[in-house]
Symmetry: D2
Subunit: 422 residues, 4 copies
């Protein structure tokens, strides 16, 4: 496939230099369906990125689309603040019946504003309010968002520098396997907590991703997560799982922490919760933590009702039984097999892979390699992104609805890109 450089003029002349993905994928996209995107010149791209995890059910999923069109056509409430609406009620009831009850999760549901960082900000505010402390522990290579509260618990130095003020009240701890197995899990963290002379401000909460998506597809072991929950319990800290990228089925089960058998105190969801790529976010917490005063946290777009409609349809369609989880795990095995083969190729010497469900990463010894691979993959019609502090990991994040054939095709293209960049 040959790609003609598109006319990007207005993007280059009018849009801020802050734009980024469009630089790596120099096309003007026009439409999409499932795992395929089409640019304005009708080039086709297979999508292994899924809107950074916001499109778990693919682009313009037909079931959700039908529900959305029906709703819009009949002039359903579009913008509802936090008013009661029939669409919101349907969502809440479905979320309760399909997600919370079968998992025995006791959560209250908050609509904190429709983006991930809003959910994280509300979670941190609530934890601090409940515990009466300022400090939060996060983990190396965590990513939680770009507004000031979320950024303070995000690891990336480049993003942090954008704050323009010192980012305080957060302390990083080593994520699972950060120290290559040389240190017992939580040895350092627990010593700090137990020792009244350690200098650690006692944290209100710990915020963690079960798999760090932006941080390089770093997969926490289930026993590590269980031990973390235990540390939190023993030291009176709330456990916040940021499930924005790894929730909504990305790792198999609806919540990424289900396999570990833990019940976090607070959970943030966004990205794929609406199912259709529409802005929506939830903050879930145990009922005894619900000490918010009415309106203490608010936001104009927290009642994005079209998103409630597609979210309800997505839950009904994909989560009423265990099929989605099973299929995700099967697709994951398909990826793993391909990565085993890929890493065994001479052109991928030294490469390692890791992942769970449909979130996978491949790391190359040459830290510039991942970027080259993604660039070549794009030329070959595959959309795939890097991850990690130095963009040193190729991240595979296909839609959960991708077919085995599409997956096979994409993995073949990836292998070719690897070979052609060796």
């Amino acid at each position: 496939m040959t790609i003609t450089p598109p006319a990007l003029s207005v993007f280059e002349t009018l849009e801020s230099e802050v734009r980024s993905y469009c630089r790596g994928w120099p096309a003007v996209f026009d439409r999409a369906r499932g795992s395929r995107l089409y640019d304005e010149d009708d080039h086709t791209y297979l999508d292994f990125f899924a809107g950074a995890g916001a499109l778990n059910y693919g682009h313009n999923n037909p079931v959700l689309k039908r529900a959305l069109l029906d709703y819009l056509e009949r002039d359903g409430i579009t913008h509802g603040l936090d008013m009661g609406t029939t669409a919101k009620r349907a969502f809440l009831e479905t979320f309760q019946n399909v997600i919370l009850r079968p998992r025995d999760l006791p959560y209250k549901v908050m609509f904190p504003g429709p983006t991930g960082t809003n959910a994280v900000e509300s979670a941190l505010k609530l934890a601090r309010k409940v515990k009466g402390r300022e400090s939060i522990v996060s983990f190396t290579n965590a990513f939680h968002g770009m507004s000031l509260g979320s950024l303070a618990v995000t690891g990336n130095a480049f993003k942090r520098a954008g704050a323009g003020v010192p980012l305080v009240h957060g302390t990083p701890m080593p994520f699972d396997n950060y120290l290559d197995g040389q240190v017992p899990d939580f040895l350092w963290f627990e010593r700090l907590l137990q020792d009244s002379g350690s200098g650690l401000n006692h944290p209100a909460a710990v915020i963690v991703e079960t798999i760090q998506g932006e941080g390089g597809i770093n997969v926490a072991r289930l026993e590590w997560l269980r031990a973390l929950a235990d540390v939190c319990r023993r030291h009176d800290m709330l456990l916040i799982v940021d499930d924005i990228q790894m929730g909504c089925g990305r790792t198999g089960p609806f919540f990424s922490f289900e396999e570990a058998g833990i019940t976090p105190d607070i959970v943030t969801l966004s990205k794929s919760i609406s199912g259709y790529g529409l802005p929506m976010a939830l903050t879930l917490f145990k009922p005894e933590l619900d000490i918010w005063e009415p309106g203490e946290h608010n936001g104009t777009f927290r009642g994005n009702n079209p998103a409630f409609v597609t979210a309800t349809a997505a839950l009904d369609t994909y989560w009423a039984d265990g099929q989605t989880e099973k299929q995700t795990l099967a697709r994951g095995e398909q990826i793993e097999s391909a990565l085993v083969a890929l890493c065994a190729e001479p052109s991928a010497e030294g490469a390692t892979y890791r992942g769970r469900g449909l979130a996978w990463g491949v790391e190359f010894p040459d830290r510039a390699r991942a970027t080259a691979i993604c660039r070549r993959a794009f030329e070959l019609g595959l959309i795939v992104e890097t991850s990690g502090p130095d963009s040193e990991v190729v991240k595979l994040l296909p839609a959960l609805t991708i077919t085995p054939d599409e997956l096979e095709e994409g993995l073949r293209t990836l292998a070719r890109a690897v070979r052609e960049t060796a």
Copy 2:
């Protein structure tokens, strides 16, 4: 009209206590069109709130709706991160041609994430980065958002307390007329800036609303805004106009600062920019400030393409000529006449009003009165909200597309609510 208490169970049992508007308006809304909402029992409500300013063109505006449905039906890109898309290009070109060029505004355009607080956070980050200073000056009774950076420049003590950490790096200055004309404008602010012994950390920027919507419809005089711009220029501070609530035609012209003849360094837009109540936000700034590195600020939903589609349609439909501005000012005069009469009634003794364009406030000597009026108005089928630090102001924020008859009807209902709460 009699309102039967609706079955709110799932809202009460599952949704967090943080919910607020739904408490004052105990209905379950189902659909809406223009300035009318309908609840599930088919009760009708006239809307003087317009989604807190997010629905300037009314609910489910038919022109925008058509564009949106067409786009969704043809599988246009829904979720686009910051990739180039045809929908984004159309928006950028239209924004340039219809808004920026005719006003001779040189701004670069940033998509900071689809909510107002994202836009404010990005504006503050950029200002601090450009100037290399942390401090920001805001104004008494300002409202800029709920995430940590925005909250630090928001006045409301109740909202601030929700942060759970001390809010720092911000200093409040008196908004126009805050000290009842007893003090020359900017006397205090300029003394602080000129005096190297004042103790004020020299600010990177000043952030201001031309009319404080949440703060009580406090209207800054044009000469005050001009003087503020001058203070900023003379003391090397950036001027940020937060036009999230008052922009997009709310006060008459597209930007609320146009009448003052000033060109802010940075402008934030959200709420009505998509025109359809869909989450979207923009940060505009002078090109010499565009020192962002690629990806230094990002966000999953900053490419909400359906919102770009309705935004483009809204600009084309309402801003290609001066009709909308003229009509808004005419409707504003209609309101003002009614408020003159209202405040002259015995039941409104001591009440005062203020406003511009289609943003108006009525304040009553008894600070509990506004809440009573809004409650009674709702019973009478009118949706209208309070504003101000003690909810002491009745805020009128109808859609710009409201008809003279609807406006008349609403104002009559309001007058009745005033009388019936005397």
Copy 3:
């Protein structure tokens, strides 16, 4: 008098560039008595600076010297941490009998470490602990010390920049007459406090100097101080008077706030409390505020017992009756008369003066003039310093024990320096 440039080599080669007074007074001083200093070449200097207010009873005051020598000779405890010692007991009893009881002041006494900034740090910590709030209000051109807590409530931008971190939790308010009488006292401060939307974090305390010594000899009117005490009382904020420079009789009475008839919640004393220039400081507070835990604030040199000895002697000698106060006021009148005459001279055109007791300042329209006058005065054998954010004020701070003749001599020299710099 001709001054030969002394051999400053080790000061220039070994001591840090941070040194400052030694630059304006390029001599190597050797001994001193009363108001006279002698350098190593036996040049004599009359002292109008008194150790920045730390030598209210003159250099090496003979009564205090005798007590100190006796104590040292008999091997009295020199370094006592916060252990009970006979010297400390004698000081506490004398302080109670001579100072607190006659003035009906109920204060508990804390030894916070032997410098002014230690006293201020402890006062701020206690206020925050008592009120459970972080924010402190200070005043324009305040000076409270160089450690991080004190620096945050100090006005001088040059000193503040030395912190290397943003200085937060403090908000400056206008000191008396800061806005030239154009604004009613405390109008702005009270509006901020009363308005829950103002954005001011409710302060734990207000810290004030009755006369700002470093800030330019800015004299607060007694009614302003009374009104401030009233604002504090009405808004649940502690009133801290920093009497480090203006206490110990500098303005006439022992505490500078006595004339105003107010009783601050917390008072800091240092500089002249030991009377002999030895490091010592006190933090005084109302007994109900004494919620310190044992050892919660400590410091190695808080039991500088030689200083307790001279402090006790100073209180016994100078404060057992009202003579010192009377004499200070008389000397103050002598200064005032001379300044009236000085400011009437053509060479001082436009100069203004202000002061109380034995703290006076003369400000010249040409802001560089004060520095020139002080330099010339030094050449003429008079030690006198500038003050104010731009060093624009000549500050007169002679010992309280200066004789009328010495005072006359110094004022004559000052007048000559003024003429010779015109």
Copy 4:
């Protein structure tokens, strides 16, 4: 010895509850000489505390006393701000000739105010100014002072809570052996520094004590200190050694870091630098760091000239040759032998000891034991204090000038106290 409860009334009624040492040692001390203190009832106490390290040459050392009395008698300058004085010059020259030159140390000398926390505050300010960063790394169980800047890098949670504001800009790292040898030195610290995604704000400096006196006599190995210096060099961070308690010969050589063969960028000295228990402090730094502006950090008592006089005499007397160091090491061996025996006694089962020079600690398995031992020792006429976050360590800090007999006596008393509290 029987101790009659002394009349403590004024301490109890007038002095703040913050007092602490006087609670554990309920006597009123009157005079002292060498290692003996006498209370007002002429009870004698042997001193194993030495003013928390401020009396390395004993109480009222006769050589220093003579120099001090001569100076005071001849009316030498007592209070000198930062003016040039003959006493200051003598000190600077002696410090250069006796201390800096023989050790080939290139430091500039700053007088930051006469207490340890002043020295630390100035060191932190300078490091931040030089590097343009806010963050400082300190160590678990560090103690650096009570003012806000120093407290933020101090470990003790109880002391930290006194701040009343969140303590930020500091991050604790594990001190040597903190993790019981389970983790390679600096593994965690270096990973954080190397990984741009770690979330650690890159520090301006690291501040460390070579032996943590307040933290429990935790002794850093020399190779650990060398490795730390290397980490600092490789990652562009300044190394600050806080030698306030362990400098001035406490561990043997004048500076405690000499044995490690490192040259810190900044060194703080206080406590025993004056030698006579008089308040004095120094901040030393490499000349290229001396970017202070004149007067950027100042303080009233930074020119405590009597302390300069005794400091000069102490350097001349004790540091002109290597005798003091040799003698300290010999006395240290005497202590170690005694502690070996002590820990072998059944009454001390499980006890461990550690130390260097004349700083030693004994830790007991029962964490309340150390307090009981010190209490009993006091009853037996020995002044000895606890240390560590839970006061779980008996700390031995005798004067360097203690005689072998006095040391023997004290160690016998300690052993008895151990037995009698078993």
